[in-house]
């Protein structure tokens, strides 16, 4: 690979940088022309940003962001609230028989949020979140590239997959832990018999 990068070829550079450095996730479906360049000039973008100290991550499912290992408590709190928002939405949709893997197709409006709120009122109240708060969270999530607004209706964007991955990872972990506990208990039982 050559050591020079032709900046003129990266026509979307300023847009890309502006969005990413504001914490916004770039999604293929929302900005196809930007995405095309990002994918085609992937190496150039990655090495350019790397030398400036930014960790660009591109996910094959169609979203990209600047990663950060040092997490400020403010971002952590925001992210946790987003996680809860998505959890209640997804759970409500699963109850209603919607296919979860097609979350990008769901039209999200006030009715849906109200239904999700009612279903998980105790959890949301414990975290001091009202229906209006959920709406505000959704707006903030849109500013960060997790959702988009089309004529007053929200739609989730592929970047939400980051949360889905995390949920599954946590679930896997707790399942593994349970298995270990079970095995340990069985061993103890057998150990007791042999003694």
């Amino acid at each position: 690979m050559s050591n020079t990068i032709d900046l003129n070829a990266l026509t979307k550079l300023s847009n890309v940088f502006k969005d990413l450095s504001n914490g916004k996730h770039i999604n293929r479906v929302e900005d196809p022309s930007v995405w095309v360049e990002l994918e085609e000039a992937r190496e150039e973008y990655c090495s350019l940003f790397e030398s400036l100290g930014f960790d660009l991550r591109i996910d094959g499912r169609g979203f990209a962001w600047f990663h950060n290992d040092e997490i400020s408590s403010k971002i952590r709190k925001t992210s946790q609230q987003f996680a809860l928002l998505f959890m209640v939405i997804f759970d409500a949709q699963a109850d209603a028989g919607k296919p979860l893997m097609r979350f990008e197709e769901w039209p999200i409006n006030r009715d849906l949020l109200k239904a999700a709120y009612e279903l998980h009122q105790d959890v949301l109240q414990a975290e001091n979140l009202s229906v209006d708060d959920l709406f505000n969270l959704l707006e903030r999530a849109a500013r960060l590239g997790f959702a988009r607004n089309e004529h007053g209706t929200w739609y989730l964007l592929p970047a939400v997959c980051r949360y889905l991955d995390h949920f599954e990872a946590l679930f896997q972990e707790s399942s593994t832990r349970l298995t270990i506990y079970q095995t340990t208990t069985e061993d103890k039982l057998h150990g007791g018999d042999e003694a």
Binding site: F82, A83, A94, G97, K98, H120, R162
Partner: protein, 423 residues
Amino acid sequence: MATPKSLVAHLHKHWEIIEELARISREHLIFDDDLLLKVVARFMPQTDDEERAGVVRSLLNADILLPLSRSTSVQLNVLILEFVRGLSKEHELGLSDVLKAKIEAIKRLTDQLAEALEDHDPDLMKRSAIQLSDLLRQITQQLEQDRHAILELAEQAKSSDVSIPIQKRYRAVLEAYDQYVEPMNEMMDSGLKGAFYPYIERAEKVLDKAMEVLSARGALYTQRLQLRQVAYQVKELRRLGRIVAQQCADILLPLRDEVRQHNELSSAISALLGQVRKKGLSRSLSSKLSNETFPVWRRERRIRISLGDEIRSIMAAAQDYEPAAEAFPESFEGPCEGMQDFIDENQLREQLKADLPIENLMTWLQHRHPTLSDPIILRLYHDLVRDPLWIAELSESQTMTRLRSVKVTYNPHRLTTPHEHVS
């Protein structure tokens, strides 16, 4: 018992009604009077109840509808049902066992044909060829129907129609995959397990041989033609089998994946919400192992510095600044006062160290620096007795020293070096 011609005539006359009955027969195995009248009314809105009842009666007479014993309900004639379904491609998924059995039959008929060839039995050959041709046609038809059924399943699974619950749709997909596609794939496997291709190949071989033999013997043209037709059917079936198996897998595999992912995610989120209820949001979402997947992003806080209006006034003041004229002091000759008060304290300490032991610090100071002013002497005395470089012993007797302007009565200090003091 109705005549076939009458049956077909009624089929033509009331096609829409019969097609609708075939469609709903998946949900309604039997029809009662009310349902029948409703269906007729839908397609013949201008009629009254009498006329509609008449239509139902004529369908019964034509054997399109068959009465059930010991009941007033009726059922659609199964031949009609299959025929209509075949035309409108509303198939049920065929059982893979049935298909398997038919494919086994290929082997049997091929053996039969080979036997006929060896025994030079033209009648048996003819019969075998016809049976084989029939069988191949059936199998081809079944495969086509199954392909359509699977397409329909897939479309239903993907549809957003909430009237069919998603678990039911997904279950249908999984069942179809397990019960049909898997056995099909096994059968069509090019490895040891797959029976399909070996049978087909053998059938091809036997047919080719038969044609050779017949042309050598100079058999009837029609017979050779028949065999060639069957051989062609066999080749076609081989091609079709491969395509259908592939298509079915292509259609169902992604859906099967989607089902699996949906179920996993649903369980994960459900369990996680339970955790949040018990442990709170923060504790539920963080864990040592999955810290990597917790979504975070980088946010540059751009610090903007903007100048306030005060700076303008400062700038204006700076612009109009006129330095004030200060008179520079004139130099003049005169006595230097106070120069004698300068003392190099380091040097003083060196001198003192060199002169140790000193009996009376006050007199020593006075002697050494006679020009120093009294406050300076007293200040130095005060500092030097506290200095850790030597030991200062306070004498018990008082003494008096005359300084430049004052008389001091005090208990003098004797200074010694530390090790001298010890000894």
